[in-house]
C-alpha cells in the first residue's frame, strides 16, 4: 500500500471479547486499536486514517447503530463491521442500509472475521482511491473561471455550442473560445473525456443529466 498502514478499530464493551478478538487480529498480522465504548471512540475519531471499524451492536450508553449514525453524520466513511451476540433482522437490515460493511454474529469464526475485515479494508482502500482521484480532479477544475465552469455544466447536459450560447446570452464564438480554453486547462482532447473527468470528480453530480 502507498499511504499509512490500515488500522482495525475495535469497539466492544466486553473486555474479554475485546482481548480475544485483538489477539486474533494480532495473529493475523493486523494493526488495531481498541475502545471499550462508542463514546470513547468518538472522543478522538481517526481523521483520514485508512482502516475499518468492528463494533458491538449492543453496548451500554451509545449503541453500535448510534456510533454508525454519528460517523455518517460527520462524513467519516470508515467501513463498519457489526458484531452482535444476538442479531435480529430489523436491526441488521437497518445497519446494512446505513452502509454497514458486514453484520456478524458472535461467536464469529476467524475466517469469517478475516474475510469481513479484508473486504472492509479493500472497500476502504477503493473508496479512498476514488476520493483521492476526485480530489485531484477537483483541483484541476479549480483553475477554471466561473464562466468556464458554467459552460462545462451546460456541455454536460449534452447541449450544443449554439444552445449554450443562447442559454448564457452570448455568441457561439465566445462559447467556442471558452470551450477551447477550458479543454486546454483540463488537458482533455474530446468532449467524451471531459464528461468522464467531470463525473469522476463528483463536482457536477447535482444537476440531472437528462432534459
Amino acid at each position: 500500500m502507498n499511504a499509512a498502514k490500515p488500522i482495525v478499530f475495535v469497539v466492544d464493551d466486553d473486555a474479554s471479547f475485546l482481548t480475544a478478538v485483538t489477539r486474533l487480529l494480532r495473529a493475523g498480522g493486523y494493526t488495531f486499536e481498541t475502545f471499550t465504548s462508542a463514546t470513547e471512540f468518538l472522543k478522538t475519531p481517526p481523521a483520514d486514517q485508512p482502516g475499518c471499524l468492528i463494533v458491538d451492536l449492543h453496548m451500554p450508553g451509545l449503541s453500535g447503530l448510534e456510533l454508525q449514525e454519528a460517523l455518517v453524520k460527520s462524513g467519516n466513511s470508515l467501513p463498519i463491521i457489526f458484531l452482535t451476540g444476538h442479531g435480529d433482522i430489523p436491526t441488521s437490515v437497518h445497519a446494512i442500509r446505513q452502509g454497514a460493511e458486514d453484520f456478524l454474529t458472535k461467536p464469529v469464526r476467524k475466517e469469517q472475521l478475516f474475510t469481513a475485515v479484508e473486504r472492509a479494508l479493500a472497500r476502504d482502500g477503493r473508496e479512498r482511491e476514488v476520493r483521492e482521484r476526485a480530489r485531484g480532479l477537483r483541483a484541476r477544475f479549480d483553475v477554471l473561471t466561473p464562466r468556464e465552469r458554467e459552460v462545462v455544466r451546460h456541455l454536460l447536459r449534452g447541449q450544443l455550442n449554439k444552445q449554450v450560447a443562447a442559454d448564457l446570452g452570448t455568441s457561439e464564438r465566445t462559447i467556442k473560445a471558452h470551450r477551447a480554453n477550458l479543454m486546454a486547462k483540463l488537458q482533455v482532447q474530446s468532449l467524451a473525456e471531459l464528461v468522464r473527468l467531470a463525473q469522476e470528480s463528483g463536482l457536477f453530480a447535482d444537476p440531472p443529466l437528462s432534459s
Binding site: 474479554s16 471479547f17 482481548t19 461467536p107
Partner: protein, 465 residues
C-alpha cells in the same frame, strides 16, 4: 393429783385446737372428720379422766371399763378409715370414667394424648398417640425414641421447639413428619404444655397430637399448583429475555472461539508464541465459567420447583436479576441504579422464586418507561432494613405511573394495565411474597412513575420451618 388433772386439761385444749384447725381448713368432709375425731378424742379423754376418778374414789373395781372409751375411739376411727377407702375407690372409679370419656372424645377427634415425665424420661401415650408415631401399645417410650421416630429432616426443628417450651414459654407447638415402619409418612401436628415445679424447673409436659396428613396434602397440592403457575410465568419471562440472554451467552462463547483460533495461530508461528497461548488458556477458562454461570442462572429459573425457604441474601438475588435484565435494559436504553444496603440481614426465602418476583417488577418497570425519552428513563432499585425486623426492596421507575383507580386491583389475577398482558405476573408475585410471609404493594411517586415495594421478614435462628 393436780398435775394429772392439769395434763388432762392441756390434752383437751390440744385436741380442741387441732379439731378447730381442721374444721377451719377444709370443706364438708374435713369438718365432719374434725367433729368425729375431736368428739371421740374428747369423749376418750373425759371418759378416761372420769374412769380414773371413779377408780380413785374406789367406786368401781380397777380394770373393767378401761376399754370402753377405747372402743368408742376405735369405732370412730374405723369408720373414718373405711370411709377413706371407700372414697378412694370412688375416686378411682370416677377417674376411670373421666379417662374413658377423655379417650372416647380423643379417639373420636383422632387425637393422641401424651405426657412426658422429664425426671424419669418416660412418655405415657394413649393408644392413638402410639399409633400415630408407629409404636406398639406396650413398648416403653422416652424422648429419644420419640425423636427417632420422626422424619430426619424434622428432628432438629422439633428438638428446638421442645427446648424452647422447656426453657421459657411453656407452650410447645410443632408439625412434623413421622416415617413409619409401614412406609407411610404421616404429618402430625402436636401441641403441649410444660408443668414447672416451684423452682420453675420443667417437670412434665403433656399434650395432644393429631394427624394432619390430609391437610398437608391439600396444602402441598395448592403449593404445587402455584409453583406450576409460577414456573409457567418464569418460562414466559425467560422468553421475553431471550434476546438479552443470547447476547449474554454469546459474549463469552465468542471470546472463547476467537481465543482458541488465535491460540492455533500462535502455535503455528515459528517459534510458537507460548506466552500468548498460556494467557489465552487462562482466559478461555474464565469465559467458560462465565458462560456456565449464565446457563446455571437460566436453568435455575427454568427448573420446576416448589418454594424452599433458606437463609438468603437479597442483595445477591438482586444482582442476579441485574445480570439477567442488563442486556434488556441496555437495549431499552434505560439506566439502572442500584442502591443496595451493604449490611442487609438474611431473609428466609427461595432464591429462584424471589428472583422471579424481582425480575417481574424490574421488567415491568423497564416496560413502563418505554414511552419516555431515553434520558428520562431511570430505574432505581433499593434494598434496606426496616425497623420492624423486615427487609424492604423497592423498584422505582420514571414512567407514567399507575391510574389511581387501577392501583388497588393491580395484584388481582387477570388484571393488567398492559395492552397484551395476561395479568398473571403481579398476582403470582404476590402469592410468592405471601408464601414468604412478606408483603407487596404499589404506589405512585410524587415525582412521577411508580414504586413497587416488597417487604420480607428477617430470618431468626429459632424460627420454625
Amino acid at each position: 393429783m393436780w398435775l394429772a388433772q392439769l395434763s388432762v386439761l392441756l390434752l383437751l385444749a390440744f385436741v380442741a385446737d387441732a379439731a378447730l384447725t381442721l374444721w377451719r381448713r377444709g370443706g364438708a368432709t374435713e369438718r365432719r372428720r374434725a367433729r368425729v375425731m375431736g368428739g371421740s378424742l374428747t369423749v376418750f379423754i373425759l371418759g378416761a379422766g372420769c374412769f380414773v376418778a371413779l377408780v380413785n374414789e374406789q367406786v368401781i373395781a380397777v380394770p373393767y371399763l378401761v376399754s370402753l372409751p377405747f372402743l368408742i375411739v376405735l369405732a370412730a376411727m374405723g369408720y373414718e378409715l373405711s370411709y377413706d377407702v371407700l372414697r378412694a375407690a370412688e375416686l378411682a372409679r370416677e377417674l376411670r370414667a373421666s379417662e374413658q370419656r377423655m379417650e372416647l372424645a380423643a379417639s373420636a377427634a383422632q387425637l393422641g394424648l401424651w405426657a412426658w415425665d422429664m425426671a424419669r424420661d418416660e412418655i405415657w401415650a394413649t393408644d392413638k398417640a402410639r399409633e400415630l408415631l408407629g409404636f406398639t401399645q406396650s413398648e416403653r417410650l422416652d424422648f429419644n425414641r420419640f425423636l427417632n421416630s420422626l422424619h430426619p429432616a424434622d428432628r432438629d426443628s422439633v428438638s428446638r421447639a421442645v427446648a424452647k417450651a422447656i426453657n421459657g414459654e411453656g407452650e410447645f407447638e410443632s408439625e412434623y413428619r413421622v416415617a413409619r415402619q409401614d412406609d407411610q409418612t404421616l404429618w402430625i401436628a402436636a401441641r403441649g404444655r410444660v408443668e414447672f415445679d416451684a423452682s420453675s424447673k420443667a417437670v412434665r409436659m403433656h399434650g395432644v397430637s393429631i394427624d394432619v396428613t390430609a391437610r398437608k396434602q391439600t396444602e402441598a397440592e395448592v403449593q404445587r399448583q402455584s409453583a406450576e403457575l409460577a414456573h409457567v410465568a418464569r418460562v414466559s419471562t425467560m422468553g421475553e429475555l431471550a434476546a438479552s440472554v443470547a447476547h449474554e451467552l454469546n459474549q463469552p462463547l465468542g471470546a472463547i472461539l476467537s481465543n482458541a483460533e488465535a491460540a492455533e495461530m500462535f502455535m503455528n508461528q515459528n517459534p510458537p508464541a507460548l506466552q500468548d497461548v498460556r494467557e489465552i488458556l487462562s482466559d478461555i477458562r474464565k469465559d467458560d465459567e462465565r458462560a456456565g454461570e449464565v446457563i446455571r442462572r437460566m436453568r435455575a429459573l427454568l427448573r420446576k420447583r416448589e418454594i424452599e425457604l433458606q437463609p438468603l441474601d437479597l442483595n445477591s438475588v438482586m444482582e442476579d436479576v441485574f445480570r439477567l435484565v442488563g442486556g434488556d435494559a441496555a437495549l431499552r436504553k434505560t439506566a439502572i441504579s442500584a442502591e443496595l444496603s451493604p449490611r442487609l440481614p438474611a431473609v428466609r426465602g427461595d432464591r429462584v422464586h424471589l428472583q422471579q418476583v424481582l425480575l417481574n417488577l424490574t421488567m415491568n418497570a423497564l416496560e413502563a418507561m418505554a414511552r419516555q425519552p431515553p434520558e428520562k428513563r431511570r430505574l432505581t432499585v433499593r434494598t434496606s432494613l426496616n425497623g420492624n425486623g423486615t427487609v424492604e426492596i423497592t423498584v422505582t421507575d420514571s414512567g407514567d405511573g399507575i391510574e389511581p383507580a387501577k392501583l388497588a386491583r393491580l395484584f388481582e389475577p387477570f388484571f393488567t394495565t398492559k395492552p397484551n398482558g395476561m395479568g398473571m405476573g403481579l398476582s403470582i408475585a404476590r402469592r410468592i411474597v405471601e408464601a414468604h410471609r412478606g408483603h407487596i404493594s404499589a404506589e405512585n411517586n410524587a415525582s412521577g412513575g411508580a414504586t413497587f415495594r416488597v417487604t420480607l421478614p428477617v430470618t431468626t435462628e429459632e424460627s420454625k420451618p
